[in-house]
């Protein structure tokens, strides 16, 4: 039931997570579970937020959890957000580390694959 | 219509030999060559035919438009050559057929190895304007046409049924098979006009094929001066004067004719 908001692909060793639409309190938990199921064993993860039109604190919480998990396992992770838009705004407001953020999916995936 | 039927083409002699195509002149048919061809039969492929309107040709193939000029007769020859796939042809033409052969060889020089002209004349009528001597005045030719007419009755009574291919009486055809030089009188008249009123002097320099001119002595139809004119105006031509007299050495002096041709070949 989360297919509407999340889909996955692989680029080299990196797991690509594509999110889209509005992510908020109503769906963040389900999306989170779907993502974790796919990324717990991953060597690298790129989360593509460019198609996300709204991101609230529940979504931020979800991303924070995933990033923390990967950091613990010393696996690299990147969050790809547009130059503008709701997702970037929310993440910036929450002061996400700038080294986590990227604007270009391909380049992010390439960096992690090295 | 095949040229074989149209021109009563007969092929004999050495099948693999170089083809010799014999063309009769005005007034006769392929029988003209019967004393000459045996001498070449062992070495050459002998191709004989009758001009349309003569001998056993198909009279219905006669077309005023086509056969109103010598070029039309030359066209017939090229079609025979084409249909029988003759190459490297030695063309032997008597009298007016010599000029017909010249026209054909100008049109398709690659087909022909050589032209033998027996008693040729590019123009029979004198041309006072440029001093050309052909041997005849225009009135002579008209007289000759009259002479044709005079013999019209006699000829037609004896030969017309055969000539006209009378379908109701085929036995007449059988009976007279051995008659020579059959000619449809009306066509004969037209052929005479074409023959004796043509002027092919301008064509001679265009002949690119080697040629042999056989000149009889005392030939009223093609006097020696005419034969010399042909020789002078035709490149790569050989002139041979024969002892034979008259206009038909192929009949009156076949050996001499054969020898001359052989020596040139």
């Amino acid at each position: 039931m989360t297919d509407h908001w999340v889909s996955f692909s692989r680029r080299g060793t990196a797991e690509l997570v594509h999110l889209k639409g509005e992510i908020d309190l109503a769906n963040a938990n389900d999306i989170g579970r779907a993502i974790v199921a796919r990324t717990t064993g991953a060597d690298a993860v790129v989360i593509d937020l460019t198609a996300v039109s709204f991101l609230d604190s529940a979504g931020v919480r979800l991303l924070d959890f995933i990033v923390g998990d990967l950091d613990d396992r010393r696996k690299p992770v990147r969050l790809v957000v547009g130059e503008h838009g709701a997702a970037r705004m929310t993440l910036q407001l929450c002061s996400f580390r700038s080294d986590l953020l990227a604007t270009d999916l391909d380049r992010a995936a390439e960096e992690l694959d090295r | 219509m095949s040229t074989t039927q149209r021109n009563a083409v007969t092929v004999s002699g050495a099948a693999s030999g170089r083809p010799m195509l014999f063309a009769h002149g005005y007034g006769c048919d392929q029988n003209m060559w019967r004393l000459v061809t045996p001498a070449f039969a062992d070495t050459h492929r002998i191709v004989l035919f009758d001009h349309v309107g003569n001998g056993r040709s198909d009279l219905s193939a006669y077309r005023d438009s086509r056969h109103g000029t010598l070029a039309g007769y030359a066209e017939d020859i090229l079609e025979i050559v084409e249909e029988h796939d003759l190459r490297d042809v030695v063309f032997v033409g008597h009298s007016v057929a010599a000029m017909i052969g010249v026209l054909a060889a100008i049109r398709e020089p690659d087909r022909f190895a050589g032209i033998v002209m027996v008693g040729p004349s590019p123009r029979y009528i004198d041309d006072e304007a440029d001093g050309y001597v052909g041997g005849f005045a225009r009135s002579d030719i008209e007289e000759m046409l009259e002479s044709l007419d005079s013999n019209y009755l006699g000829w037609s009574s004896a030969m017309a049924p055969v000539i006209m291919g009378n379908p109701e009486r085929p036995e007449l055809g059988e009976e007279l098979t051995n008659s020579f030089c059959r000619t449809d009188p009306a066509i004969a008249r037209k052929f005479a006009q074409v023959t004796f009123l043509s002027d092919n002097r301008a064509d001679l320099p265009n002949l690119r094929v080697p040629s042999l001119i056989l000149q009889c002595s005392d030939d009223v139809i093609a006097p020696t001066v005419v034969g010399e004119y042909v020789h002078k105006n035709t490149r790569e031509s050989t002139f041979m004067a024969l002892n034979a007299t008259g206009h038909c050495p192929n009949l009156s002096a076949p050996e001499e004719t054969v020898d001359a041709i052989k020596s040139w070949l």
Binding site: E22, D24, L25, A26, F54, L55, D56, S57, A58, V60, R61, H84, G85, A86, M89, T90, L93, C94 | G25, Y26, G27, C28, N31, M32, R34, D64, S95, F136, A137, D140, I141, E142, E143, M144, L145, E146, S147, L148, D149, S150, N151, Y152, L153, G154, A158, S179, F180, C181, F196, D219, V220, I221, T245, G246, H247, C248, L251, S252
Partner: protein, 832 residues
């Protein structure tokens, strides 16, 4: 006589004299000749010598038989006689003329036998010669009549064929071809030529010849002194039997006869009309044929020749009529097609262009139309090559000045016919046509060209008038549509769009209008007047004014339509116009609407899909057959609603059903729900009809309730938050809030509602959260209230991030906790 001249016959034993073989030989009733195979005479009998006048010594050893013959017979001898003798061994009854010593001739019949030696070689020829003077005369006569019969039969055959050919020849050219083939087979002519009379140019035109090298092969005036023209004038058969005769009467003919070696010429006029009434015949041409010899034509032949002239003349006459009929048919068909083709183009430039393209290549090689319109005039041309411009200018000036066509003449260096384009006596321009000489000249063609010019002039003038009217109508329409619609009112916003048809059609009768009836009541209208052009534009203006006059605070939509029906009684052109009319109470949000034969309003409220308002429908204005009971419907609109009024051009499209059009419009309207109002209508037109649309499109979109306040109550369910966001997004967009501010307000509001659900109603799934938002000139303010029992901020670390986001994204935040919790947040508009 013997060779020595002495009498040697007596030395033999005397036998009865008439049995003496020698005597018999010498005095036989025929001539005997013995010759060698080459013809040399070795023996001759007395009879032959007597007949011919030669001495024996003249012949023996000196002459050949051939030498005694005429030159013509010598040829015959060489080509026929000698070969035949050689091959057959004998010849019989050969007719030869022997030339006597005195050069006179003896007609003879000759038999000959060739004797061969034992080895088969020819040895001698024995020749027997009969004097055949009488017989040959007889034979000649016989031959003559036989040949006459034969040639007459052939002639008849040939003529029958010619007559059949003539009957089947539909054109002059084919008749000429058939006639020219006659003289050679029918009369043994050497060649023939045919000249046809061209009455327009008064010329004899050399049409065809079997031997064009003979004769003077030029066209000639009918008045020429040349023989052909002379005969054409006289209309009689002329036989010029000899060159001398020609010399005397027709020097030009004598000259060409000499040149082409012709002795006799026949000039046969080709005539039509009753033969018995002399002088009534018309000469349509002349057939000339000639002979190499001096030819005497028999009376029978002359009769046949005259017959040929009449047959050919009649065939020519018929062919001319036929040609003329077909040409006329071609011309009228061309005119009809051209008129139609011009009608297809409405604009002046395109019509002028089409004219020259129609004319070239069908009737001219090059064409140029000049019209006196505008300051520079209009010039269109096609084909080539163009003529000399200076000469052309002069001719154009002449045609304009004289108001009459100037036709091309031979050798005028221009080859151009210039036709004035005249309408109601006024020259509006010129049409110049360059035609090859053979395409012009005939009088009928001139009439045709004048006809063409008249039609072209009318078509171009109509296009010019159309152009003028179109410009006026366009101006009128623009001035009406551009009249101010109310704006600068924060309670609503309007967006309009008018798009003229891509094809060059006349102005349509679509219009929109919006005006305030009272301070708090807005009227919006879209309508469509029947027809196009300046009348439609005028009617549209009248209806528009009528609606403004009828729209009062009291009337309402239904009564307004009734008023318009009455209006139609006076203004007939307004009848059957369709209108959708709506009034919006800006205070209550109540919409009252009615449609008269028009497409339904499309309403999109902030929540839910768009809907067509299908109530309050009635017939077009002034309709007699339709249901004219005017009804209206009322619904209350929520703030943020958008209402679309449009004309059929928006949804009608070839190859697409109307249902599908409605469907697409609703979908696209919904899709653009959050798009700014500005550009919305143009965007819809782009999507629905594209650039290549065949009809005018007129639209008006009202965005309502750009209310200052947005109020929602939502259940304590996270799923509801996204719906709230959608409403708020549309509402803010409608107010022109910039995206940064908009996103920030949405985020803060979401977090506040989420807090209320998570904290206020943690234990109450039926709780309600109230959201109220207002937009002022400088800020957006949102208030979120719940009635639950909060645990207080910071109670939950995770929710702390939500609070943090509220603080970060808004400029002012305040919490008020009493009976539940109220968060009030405020953000300034504009960039931070």
């Amino acid at each position: 006589m013997s060779e020595s001249g002495g009498p040697d016959v007596t030395q033999e034993l005397r036998l009865p004299w008439d049995d003496d073989p020698e005597d018999l030989y010498e005095h036989a009733p025929c001539g005997y000749l013995t010759t060698l195979p080459d013809g040399t005479i070795v023996r001759v009998n007395e009879t032959f010598l007597t007949w011919t006048g030669y001495a024996r010594t003249d012949l023996i050893g000196h002459k050949r038989f051939r030498d005694l013959l005429t030159p013509g017979d010598q040829i015959f001898h060489e080509t026929h006689y000698a070969p035949l003798l050689t091959m057959q061994g004998e010849v019989h009854e050969i007719a030869l003329d022997v030339v006597r010593a005195d050069r006179s001739r003896v007609p003879t019949l000759v038999n000959a036998v060739l004797e061969s030696g034992p080895n088969g070689t020819p040895r001698i020829i024995r020749t027997m010669i009969f004097n055949a003077t009488e017989r040959r005369r007889y034979e000649r006569e016989l031959l003559g009549s036989r040949r006459a019969a034969e040639s007459s039969e052939q002639r008849v055959r040939v003529l029958q064929q010619i007559v059949a050919d003539l009957a089947a020849a539909p054109t002059e050219a084919e008749v000429a071809e058939a006639v020219i083939r006659a003289p050679e087979p029918a009369f043994q002519a050497a060649s023939s030529s045919i000249f046809l009379v061209d009455p327009e140019r008064d010329e004899l035109v050399a049409v065809s010849s079997t031997d064009p090298t003979t004769g003077n092969w030029d066209d000639m005036p009918r008045s020429s002194t040349r023989a052909v023209a002379e005969v054409a004038r006289r209309g009689d058969l002329h036989v010029i039997a000899t060159v001398a005769e020609a010399e005397e009467h027709f020097p030009d003919l004598a000259e060409s006869m000499r040149r082409s070696e012709r002795k006799t010429v026949v000039l046969l006029p080709l005539t039509t009309g009753p033969a018995e009434e002399h002088g009534a015949v018309a000469v349509l041409g002349v057939l000339a044929f000639s002979f190499r010899e001096e030819r005497v034509l028999t009376d029978g032949e002359l009769r046949v020749i005259r017959l040929l002239g009449q047959q050919a003349g009649q065939a020519l006459d018929r062919a001319r009529l036929y040609d003329e009929g077909r040409r006329r048919e071609d011309r009228s068909s061309f005119l009809a097609r051209t008129t139609r083709a011009l009608d297809e183009q409405h604009r002046l430039l395109q019509r002028a262009r089409r004219l020259v393209e129609r004319v070239v290549p069908e009737i001219a090689d090059w064409a140029l139309v000049r019209l006196q319109v505008g300051p520079a005039g209009l010039v269109e041309y096609h084909g080539g090559p163009a003529p000399d411009p200076e000469l052309l200018d002069a001719r154009v000036a002449e045609a304009v000045e004289t108001c009459a066509p100037v036709y091309a003449g031979d050798g005028d260096g221009l080859d151009c016919t210039v036709l004035p384009l005249t309408v109601r006596g006024r020259v509006i321009g010129t049409l110049a046509l360059r035609m090859a000489p053979d395409r012009r000249g005939a009088g009928a063609d001139r009439l045709f060209l004048v006809d063409l010019a008249d039609r072209a002039a009318l078509a171009l003038e109509n296009a010019r008038l159309y152009e003028q009217e179109r410009a006026i109508a366009r101006t009128l329409q623009r001035s009406l549509l551009a009249a101010d619609v109310p704006g600068a009112d924060s309670r609503f916003a309007l967006e309009t769009h008018y798009q003229a048809a891509a094809q060059d059609l006349e102005v349509g009768g679509d219009w929109y209008d919006a005006f305030l009836i009272t301070a708090n009541k807005l009227a919006v209208v879209v309508g469509d007047v029947v027809g196009r052009g300046i009348d439609a534009a005028t009617t549209m203006g009248q209806l528009r004014s009528a609606i403004r006059a009828l729209a009062t605070a009291e009337n309402g939509p239904a009564r307004l339509l009734e008023g318009l029906d009455r209006f139609c009684e006076r203004v007939e052109s307004a009848r059957m116009a369709t209108v959708v009319y709506a009034e919006i109470d800006l205070l209550s949000g109540e919409l009252a609407y009615a449609t008269a034969g028009h497409l339904p309003l499309l309403l999109h409220e902030p929540a839910g899909p768009p809907q067509y308002l299908m109530q309050a429908r009635s017939a077009p204005l002034g309709s007699r057959a339709g249901d004219r009971r005017r009804v209206e419907d009322r619904i209350r609109l929520t703030g943020g609603s958008r209402l679309l009024l449009y004309t059929d051009g928006l949804i009608e499209r070839r190859g697409r059903g109307l249902d599908r059009g409605f469907e697409i419009l609703a979908r696209e309207f919904s899709r653009l729900r959050d798009a700014p109002l500005k550009g919305l209508t143009a965007g819809l037109a782009d999507i629905l009809v594209g650039r290549d649309h065949g009809d005018d499109v007129c639209m008006l979109c009202l965005s309502l309730g750009t209310e200052e306040r947005l109020e929602r109550s939502i259940g304590a369910d996270p799923v509801q938050i996204s719906r709230l966001r959608a409403d708020m997004r549309g509402w803010m967009a409608g107010h022109g809030i910039d995206p940064d501010c908009l996103n920030a307000v949405l985020l803060a509001s979401s977090e506040a509602v989420a807090n209320a659900i998570e904290h206020g109603y943690r234990d109450d799934p039926f709780g309600m959260v109230d959201v109220s938002a207002t937009i002022s000139a400088d800020a957006v303010e949102v208030r979120v209230s719940d009635h639950g029992a909060w645990r207080g901020p910071g109670a939950d670390l995770a929710r702390g991030r939500g609070l943090q986001l509220i603080y970060e994204s808004m400029d002012e935040v305040s919490f008020d906790q009493g009976e539940g919790t109220t968060v009030t947040m405020r953000r300034h508009r504009g960039a931070r």
